[in-house]
Structures are given as C-alpha cells and as structure tokens.
Amino acid sequence: MFTRTVRPALNVARAAQQQSQGMATLREIEQRLKSVRNIEKITKSMKVVASTKLTRAERAMREAKKYGAANNELFKHTEIEKSEEAPKILYVGISSDGGLCGGIHSSISRAVKKAMAEQPGTLAVVGDKPKSQLSRAMPQAFKVTFNAVGKDVPTFAEASAIADEIVKNGGEWDEIKIISNKYLSAISYESGVTSVISAKALQAAAGFQAYEMEEDVSKDLAEFALANAIYTALVEGHAAEISARRTAMENASNNANDMMASLQLQYNRGRQAVITNELIDIITGASAL
C-alpha cells in the first residue's frame, strides 16, 4: 500500500471519496437485496397459504350458493308492486377486515357509492376496510357496522347474528340491497347487488295473498331470507377475497424476483467498478515510481 502514500494528496482524497462512495453504494445495494429477498419469501408463503385456504373456501361457497338459490327461487314468485314514493333502501356492504387482497374492498366501496348516488339510503357495512373508506365519504348514512368476520370461512350462525343486529338496529326500510363480491373464477371477481324483500312488501305481494297465513309468518320469512342472503354473500365474498389475495401475492413475488435480478446486476457492476478503480490506483501509483 506504500504506493498510495507517494501520490499527490488531492488525488488520494478524490480516490478515497470515490472508493468510499462506491463502497457505500455497494452496501446499500446489498441491504436492499437482502430486504427484497425477505419480502419475496413472505409473499411467496402468503400465496401458498391463500392457495390452500382457497380450496376450502370454494367448497364452502358451492354449498352456500344452494342457500342463496333457494332464497331466489322463493322470491321469484312474489312480484313487488312499485309503490308511488321512493322506497327506503338499506344497503349492506359485505367485505372483510384483512388487507393485501388487491381491489376487493375498493370494489365494494365503489359499488356502494354508485348505488347511493342513484338511490340514496342508509348503510350497514361488514368489514373494517370498506367501513373506513366509506365513513370518509358518507358517515351520516351509517346505521351499524360489523367486523371480526372473514378470518375463517363464515358460518350461518354469524350471518344469522348479523341479520339479527340489522333487524334490531338497522332502522326502517322497504328493501335491502346487499352489495358483495361475486366469485367469477379463480382469478376474477366482480361486485354485485342482491335484493332482499321486506316483511311488509312480502305480505302485500300477489303470490302470498292467495294463501291465508298469520302476520308473523311473513316477518319470520323476511328475517330468514335476510340471514340466507347475507350468508351467501359472506361466503362468496370470502372466496373472492382469498383468490384475490393469492393473485396479489403472486404478483408481488414476481415483482420481487424482477427487482432482485436487476439489483443483483447493479451490485455486480458496482463491485467490478470498485475493483477496477483499485487496480487503476495501484497501477498509476506503480507507474509513477
């Protein structure tokens, strides 16, 4: 190293600065590489977990869809007459609390905002994420919100409890519109609206007038229909969310891999530049002798 000491002071200083800059950048690149590698491991494992959960969620969804189909079948035969004034609508937005699942929650928020713009009404929300998005836009419309749903496959008991709370504290309504994500395939979903009829409208419907029954029966039926519809929406939304999370984590892993490749190249180039500079120093130093 004595060759360094014979060089003019200025050159030494410049070379030292260049070299220290080079070393600092190298260390930075190394740290970035390490952190991106860790992130890739995490997102890959999250994707695997989501894939395994997806099979269970899909199976539950296929069972739950039968509840929803039974519901719809019954109400196909009850046509509601259009009343004169605008019906009071309660919107129920169904999503969940978890993040890292792509555009699931925003799709629900957007659908709710669009529906409220056309036909305003009151709002009940299941899930923390859409709740925070919508409470910034329309806090006055909220009646009741729910959370702590969606970590596991939703059960009918949970749907029944939610329906119970809505009936108790949801205010007055003529119609309920449930806004949830429909599972189209393992890689796509779309928000959709399901209508649930109210007890009053049921009683007035032509199909039911043909039978004699007590008042209470239509009220019970409306409440059961609500629990049914909420259950179907919850389970389908859960499956859609898991598939979206799987896709999002897969994209994140691919992006992380691309970043690692480009960072690795940058690191190699930087390392070679440092070595080349050292060689130049030594050789010019040696030639100066």
Binding site: P139, K143, V144, N147, T155, A157, E158, E223, L226, A227
Partner: protein, 72 residues
C-alpha cells in the same frame, strides 16, 4: 296465538337459541364438530350522526385462560 318469544327476540335470535340447545344435547364428538360450525366472533358497532359507538361482541368471548404467549 302468537308465541311468547316474539316479545323478546327476532326469528333469527330464536333459531340461534334453539340450535344452541340442540348442540348442547348432542353426544361428545358430534357436539364438538357442531360447536366449531357455530362459533360467532362477530363484533358490531351502532352509528349515530356519523359517529361510531362502542364496539361490542355479539357473543361475549371467553378470556384466554393462559397468561398469553411468551415475550419471545
């Protein structure tokens, strides 16, 4: 004649109570399987004038008996 439960609860609540009674009457293995299907961890929150109220569990959760996970 209207049933007495109508004064106190909705139909959904009524079926929840009835199914809980049925679950508790099952034999051990069936009961455990049924309890898993009936776990309710939902919390709700009433809103008044754009302000959320206190969050309450629909079914109060039992406190975990252990002291919790160790610090590391």
């Amino acid at each position: 004649m209207s049933s007495t439960w109508r004064e106190f609860m909705s139909w959904n609540k009524y079926t929840q109570v009835a199914s809980r009674a049925l679950r508790q009457a099952l034999t051990e293995t069936d009961r455990v399987a049924a309890e898993k299907r009936a776990a309710i961890g939902v919390r709700y929150q009433l809103w008044e004038n754009g302000q959320g109220g206190e969050q309450k569990y629909v079914v109060p959760q039992a406190e975990p008996k252990s002291a919790g996970t160790p610090p590391v």
